[in-house]
Amino acid sequence: DQQVKQNSPSLSVQEGRISILNCDYTNSMFDYFLWYKKYPAEGPTFLISISSIKDKNEDGRFTVFLNKSAKHLSLHIVPSQPGDSAVYFCAASPGSGGYQKVTFGIGTKLQVIP
């Protein structure tokens, strides 16, 4: 049973346009969410996170939006660049204190076309 769902396995976007990656979750106990980026043959690197007390968090070209009532979050990349081409993983955790198991989605492969 997938608790974190990334329903789009792949996405292609033109350079300079907006990329929107979506993520849905089913566990209402999740209240801390993260996005990771992964290039082939490398480990994932942290991009941005959001706590459930917020509905938006921004870091440069990356913005994460959280809709708790819909159990949905999205990552916006504006403007998209060819170097953004990678697999993006959504992750969720039931709280931020102590050890909290982090559950990952299956990833969305983003291709930014020059």
Binding site: Y32, E42, G43, S96, Y99, V102, I106
Partner: protein
């Protein structure tokens, strides 16, 4: 800079062999994790540890064991490797609490092929 180092990037092992994957972190993190990544399945947690000599099963612990004798080192052991354990293995670490800038840091990954 945070550093999680996995000792072997690429390994080829035979079915039935005992395999050790080693991971070291230099951030004095309490938590350490082993994940495996497979196409279409994302990152799945095998085991984690929140302290020396402590371990907890993740989602797919069958066929694996772990060892954490020192805070900085977390080893994944495949007692008898099988072909369905061919995968990319990722070690990670974090401070006890996520948030406030704390997150999970991953190593570069170890590609294991079992033949």
């Amino acid at each position: 800079d945070v550093k999680v180092t996995q000792s072997s990037r690429y390994l080829v092992k035979r079915t039935g062999e005992k395999v050790f994957l080693e991971c070291v972190q230099d951030m004095d993190h309490e938590n350490m994790f082993w994940y495996r990544q497979d196409p279409g399945l994302g990152l799945r947690l095998i085991y984690f540890s929140y302290d020396v000599k402590m371990k907890e099963k993740g989602d797919i612990p069958e066929g694996y064991s772990v060892s954490r004798e020192k805070k900085e080192r977390f080893s994944l052991i495949l007692e008898s490797a099988s072909t369905n354990q061919t995968s990319m293995y990722l070690c990670a670490s974090s401070l006890l609490g996520l948030g406030d800038g704390n997150t999970i840091y991953f190593g570069e990954g170890s590609w294991l092929t079992v033949v």
